[in-house]
C-alpha cells in the first residue's frame, strides 16, 4: 500500500473516531446531518454511513437547505443517492420568504410582508432597512434562507448535535475550529453542538478519498466547479474537472492568496497595537 493510501486511511479513521465519539455522547434521535450535495458533506455522510454500518445502527436524519436557487444537478444527485443509500432526507426551506419574494430571484421583499418569526430575526441581527433583495448576496436573505431554516430544523426535531462537512483549509478563519463546537442558545437560537468530522481533510484529500473509495459526487465538479453553493453565486474557475485543477495554488473561493499574504505581512509590521 502506498504512503498516500495510508495517509488517507488514517484521515478517514480520524474522522470515524470523531463520529464514534458523537454517537457515544448523543442519542441517535438527537443527531442530524447537513447534506448539501457538495463533495465535503457527501464525504462526511459517506464516512458516517460506514460508522453506522460498523455499529449496526441507522444513519441519522439528514437535512438539506433549499435556498430558492438550487442547481438541478444537485437536486438530482441528492434524490438519486438518498434513495440508493436509504437516507431519511428532509428538504427545508423558508416558505414565508419565498412567498413574499413571489418565488423570484432578485425580487424585493418587504419586511412587513413577512411572518412574526422572520421579522423578529431581522430585528435580532440588526438589519435596519424596510426591504431587502431576495438573492444570495443579501446577508439578511441568506440569514433567513439558511441560518433560520437550520435553527428551525434543529428546534422542530429536538436535535442536540449536527454533523457538518467543514474543513480547516477552506479559509484562514476556520483554522482554529474544533471537531465539537458547542453553540450556546439565545434569543431565537437553539443550543446545539456542531460536529465537523472532516476538518483535517484538505481539498486534495477530499478528491483523493472520493476516488480511492469510489464515493459519488455531483457532476458539476466535472464541469469545473470547485465549490457549490447557490446557483447564481457559484462560479466556475475553469472548465477542467475540479480535481484536475491546481488545488494547492489557487483558492477554492478566490484566486488572490498572494496579495493577501503580502497585506498580512504589512499589517503584522504595524508598530502600535
Amino acid at each position: 500500500m502506498s504512503n498516500k493510501d495510508e495517509i488517507l486511511e488514517k484521515k478517514v479513521n480520524d474522522s470515524k473516531k470523531v463520529i464514534n465519539e458523537a454517537f457515544d455522547r448523543f442519542p441517535l434521535e438527537n443527531l442530524a446531518i447537513t447534506w448539501t450535495g457538495g463533495k465535503d458533506s457527501t464525504l462526511t455522510l459517506w464516512i458516517i454511513r460506514q460508522v453506522c454500518q460498523e455499529r449496526g445502527i441507522k444513519v441519522p436524519k439528514c437535512m438539506t437547505i433549499d435556498e430558492g436557487d438550487p442547481f438541478p444537478e444537485i437536486e438530482k444527485f441528492l434524490k438519486e443517492w438518498s434513495t440508493k443509500w436509504n437516507i431519511d432526507l428532509e428538504i427545508c426551506r423558508n416558505e414565508d420568504v419565498l412567498k413574499a419574494a413571489n418565488y423570484k430571484l432578485g425580487a424585493t421583499v418587504k419586511v412587513k410582508d413577512l411572518n412574526e418569526r422572520n421579522q423578529a430575526e431581522i430585528k435580532r441581527i440588526g438589519y435596519e432597512e424596510d426591504e431587502f433583495p431576495f438573492e444570495a448576496e443579501s446577508y439578511v436573505g441568506n440569514h433567513l434562507m439558511k441560518t433560520v431554516v437550520l435553527n428551525q430544523f434543529i428546534e422542530r426535531n429536538n436535535i442536540k448535535a449536527i454533523f457538518q462537512g467543514l474543513r480547516w483549509d477552506e479559509q484562514p478563519a476556520r483554522r482554529k475550529d474544533e471537531y465539537f463546537n458547542f453553540r450556546e442558545g439565545g434569543e431565537l437560537t437553539p443550543a446545539h453542538t456542531r460536529i465537523c468530522p472532516i476538518l483535517h481533510f484538505t481539498e486534495r484529500d477530499v478528491w483523493d478519498t472520493i476516488f480511492k473509495y469510489n464515493i459519488p459526487f455531483c457532476e458539476l465538479y466535472k464541469q469545473g466547479y470547485r465549490s457549490l453553493g447557490a446557483k447564481t453565486t457559484s462560479k466556475k474557475l475553469s472548465d477542467i474537472p475540479a480535481w484536475e485543477q491546481d488545488l494547492e495554488h489557487t483558492g477554492e473561493r478566490d484566486g488572490r492568496r498572494q496579495d493577501k499574504e503580502k497585506a498580512m505581512e504589512k499589517l503584522r509590521k504595524l508598530g502600535y497595537m
Binding site: I125, G126, E184, L267, L270, G271, Y272
Partner: protein, 447 residues
C-alpha cells in the same frame, strides 16, 4: 435611544493616561511620563507626578502623539511632538523656548535640508546638544539648538526608537523593524548587537538601556517582555505579566528597580523590582469612549455634529497623521461612510460593544474599496476589564476578508468567539496604507 453600558469620560482630561510611551524617575523622586493620548488623537501630554500620584506639572499645548519628554539640566523639558514632526523645549512655566518648526527660517528644515519625520526620542548630551531618534527618516542624529546636524547615523536601522547616549560615548539604539539592538560608536561602527532578526529573539524592540552592571535591559515589545541581556548575549533576567501587556520602554532607577510603560496594554506605568514584584504603579485611565450594549447605528443613518456617523469613533492611533472620514454620497438609499488614507499606518472607524466570554458573534457588512495599497477589512479586537487588548498583533484578531486594490460592493461576513477574560469588543473598519474603503449595512449579532 442607544443603550450605553459605560458612557466614557470627557476627552483630554489632564492626567488621564491612555498610552504612556516614555518615563523617567527624576532626581527629586517624581516621575515624568510622556502620554501619547487616546486613539482618536486627543489627550497627548507630558506629566510629572509625585510618589503618591499627584500631578505636579503637565504640558499638553498642541501636542499630537508625543512620544517622549525628558527633563533637561536647565530644568526645562525636551519633548518629541511626534505626529507634528517637531521638537519642543518648554520651561516649567510652559513657555516654549525652542521649537524645531522655526529652524531653517521657519521651514522646520535642519542644516542638511531634511525635516524631522516622526521623531520619537530626544536626549540632551553633555555638551547641551540633542540626540534625536528620527524614526521615519530611519536615523538618529545629533543636532544643536539651531538645527545644525552635527552627526548622523542613517545606515543599518529601519524605524529606530529610543537612541540614548552611554557613558562611554557610544549610542544604544533600537532597530525596531530590524528586530535588533545596536551599540554604535562615534565612528558609526557597530560595537555590540543583540538580535538575529528573528522575531523569536526580539520582536519590534522599542527600547534598550545599559545598566551599571554592564548588561542591557531590552523592551521586547511584541514579545511582551523585558529582558536583561549580558554582554555575551545571554538572557539573565526577564519580566512578563500574565495578560498581554504592551511594554514600550524601560527606565532603570537608582534603587535597582525598573519603571516600565505599559502603553495601551493596561494604560499604566509600573515599577518592578528584581524579584518581579510590582512595587509602585501609576494608573489613571478612564475610557474616553462609550461602550454600547449592542451595535448602534450599524446602518449609518445618524450623523453627529462633526460629520461622523453617530456613535462611531474615527481612531487615528496607528496613523502618522493624515487620513480622514469620507462619505459616498452616491450610495442608495443614503450616503455611507468610508476612510481615506494617504500614507503608511492605519485608520479605524470603530465602536465598543459589551460582550461575554464564550459567546459567538457573527459580523456582516458590505465593503467597497478603491485603490487600496495595503489592505482594508472589518475586524474585532477583544479587551479585558482593564482596557487591554487580548491579542498580540492586529493579524491575530478575528477578521473578515482582507480587501486589496479596487473591489465593488462585496458582502463579507465572519464569526468570532469571544475569548476568555474579555469584557467588551471593538468592532472596526480599518484601512492600512493608501486608498479608500467604504462600508454599509453593518450587522453584529450573536449566533
Amino acid at each position: 435611544m442607544p443603550d450605553i453600558i459605560s458612557p466614557g469620560t470627557k476627552r483630554g482630561i489632564p492626567g488621564n493616561i491612555e498610552m504612556p510611551l516614555a518615563i523617567e524617575r527624576l532626581p527629586n523622586g517624581n516621575t515624568l511620563i510622556a502620554d501619547a493620548g487616546d486613539e482618536a488623537g486627543f489627550g497627548s501630554e507630558i506629566i510629572e507626578i509625585d510618589m503618591v500620584g499627584n500631578i505636579v506639572w503637565s504640558y499638553n499645548e498642541g501636542l499630537r502623539f508625543a512620544h517622549s519628554g525628558r527633563r533637561l539640566k536647565n530644568g526645562n523639558t525636551l519633548i518629541t511632538d511626534t505626529t507634528n514632526n517637531r521638537l519642543l523645549e518648554v520651561t516649567p512655566d510652559k513657555r516654549i523656548v525652542l521649537n524645531s518648526d522655526e529652524w531653517g527660517n521657519g521651514t522646520g528644515k535642519l542644516s542638511d535640508g531634511s525635516h524631522l519625520h516622526y521623531p520619537n526620542e530626544a536626549f540632551e548630551l553633555e555638551d547641551g546638544t540633542f540626540l534625536v531618534t528620527d524614526r521615519n527618516n530611519d536615523r538618529c542624529i545629533q543636532v544643536d539648538r539651531e538645527g545644525n546636524v552635527l552627526w548622523s547615523f542613517d545606515k543599518e536601522v529601519q524605524h529606530p526608537h529610543n537612541a540614548n547616549p552611554l557613558q562611554n560615548g557610544n549610542i544604544l539604539i533600537s532597530d525596531s523593524d530590524g528586530n535588533r539592538i545596536l551599540e554604535i560608536n562615534r565612528n558609526k561602527e557597530i560595537v555590540w548587537s543583540y538580535g538575529d532578526g528573528n522575531i523569536e529573539t526580539l520582536w519590534w524592540p522599542r527600547s534598550a538601556i545599559r545598566l551599571e552592571n554592564g548588561n542591557t535591559m531590552i523592551t521586547d515589545s511584541k514579545n511582551h517582555r523585558i529582558i536583561e541581556v549580558s554582554p555575551e548575549g545571554e538572557i539573565v533576567w526577564k519580566f512578563q505579566t500574565e495578560h498581554i501587556d504592551k511594554f514600550y520602554i524601560t527606565h532603570a532607577t537608582k534603587d535597582d528597580t525598573f519603571l516600565i510603560a505599559c502603553t495601551d496594554g493596561h494604560h499604566q506605568v509600573i515599577e518592578v523590582d528584581r524579584a518581579g514584584n510590582i512595587v509602585w504603579l501609576f494608573r489613571n485611565y478612564r475610557r474616553p469612549f462609550p461602550i454600547y450594549s449592542r451595535l448602534t447605528n450599524g446602518f449609518f443613518k445618524e450623523i453627529d455634529e462633526d460629520g461622523l456617523p453617530k456613535h462611531w469613533i474615527l481612531a487615528t492611533r496607528l496613523s502618522e497623521g493624515g487620513g480622514k472620514l469620507i462619505w459616498d454620497k452616491e450610495n442608495k438609499p443614503r450616503p455611507c461612510p468610508g476612510l481615506e488614507f494617504d500614507r503608511s499606518g492605519a485608520l479605524f472607524l470603530q465602536q465598543a460593544i459589551k460582550v461575554k466570554a464564550g459567546e459567538v458573534y457573527k459580523v456582516a457588512a458590505e465593503i467597497k474599496t478603491i485603490d487600496v495599497k495595503g489592505s482594508a477589512a472589518v475586524h474585532i479586537d477583544f479587551f479585558d476589564a482593564y482596557g487591554g487588548s487580548l491579542y498580540h498583533v492586529i493579524t491575530e484578531m478575528p477578521s473578515g476578508t482582507l480587501f486589496t486594490g479596487t473591489n465593488d460592493w462585496t458582502l463579507d461576513s465572519f464569526e468570532a468567539k469571544v475569548p476568555d477574560r474579555s469584557t467588551y469588543a471593538e468592532l472596526r473598519l480599518f484601512l492600512n496604507d493608501k486608498g479608500k474603503v467604504f462600508i454599509r449595512n453593518l450587522m453584529f449579532h450573536k449566533v
